[in-house]
Symmetry: C2
Subunit: 143 residues, 2 copies
């Protein structure tokens, strides 16, 4: 059985997320998704949707067998427990696959890192675009 692990924030869920998860699922027999904790999202604006709700949404997707919240302190701890065969990166996740593989290897995690290049060209396929559209629509208006 090939276990695939995908990770992300999954704020304001959109088809880009779904495509990443579907392509990840196709690489193995089981897809476990690690949803980033609110406290660990530091490289981009704080998520709009709280972690418990982001988890629920990811869990409700056909492509996902299981979704879990990440660890707050050591983000590799959960990966160690899950022992995935494959870890996927989305097209916009800015890790260096080789460096990540080496880091994991040093911790006894022998997972292959696969970048999912697929990218849905839909118009609102990033949380940032959704936020921008909402701001444009409602600027100066009461909701």
């Amino acid at each position: 059985m090939t276990r695939v692990v995908a990770t992300g924030t999954f704020d304001l869920l959109h088809p880009g997320h779904v495509l990443y998860l579907e392509k990840s699922r196709e690489l193995g027999d089981e897809l476990v998704v690690i949803v980033a904790r609110d406290i660990n999202v530091r490289h981009k604006p704080k998520p709009i949707v709280p972690e418990s709700q982001r988890l629920k949404m990811v869990q409700s997707l056909k492509a996902v067998d299981r979704a879990v919240l990440g660890e707050e302190k050591d983000i590799f701890q959960l990966i160690e427990r899950l022992q995935p065969d494959i870890i996927t990166l989305g097209y916009d996740q800015h890790f260096d696959p080789a460096a990540l593989e080496a880091e994991l290897f040093s911790r006894g995690i022998h997972a292959q890192i696969v970048r999912v290049e697929a990218n849905d060209p839909c118009t609102l396929c990033s949380s940032r675009q959704i936020v921008a559209k909402i701001l444009e629509r409602f600027r100066g208006r009461r909701v």
Copy 2:
């Protein structure tokens, strides 16, 4: 086989939508979801997410067997073709079930109207709340 039909806009998908669809699915053997066309959303603000993307998101949910866009002109035409056994209404869909059942009956649609009262008490379980949170967060700031 009991066919259930659920309907809605499903803008900015949230756990409230998911709960409505899961409870709808539990009432039968197949759940078909009719996603409202952009042009037909008149009783509340125009959706943020375009119809093709709202359709995709609904289709990607575990609870949903099939999702289709509604008809632009006659919203009952599709229901006539689908011939559901049950049509569900969400807790916040303001139709009168008895009047709707009578209207459908007059068009040869013998579906039972069931209101799904379940309501997820999560903090961002309406598109309006999500929009309000984004406006509050980003007011006066560049995205």
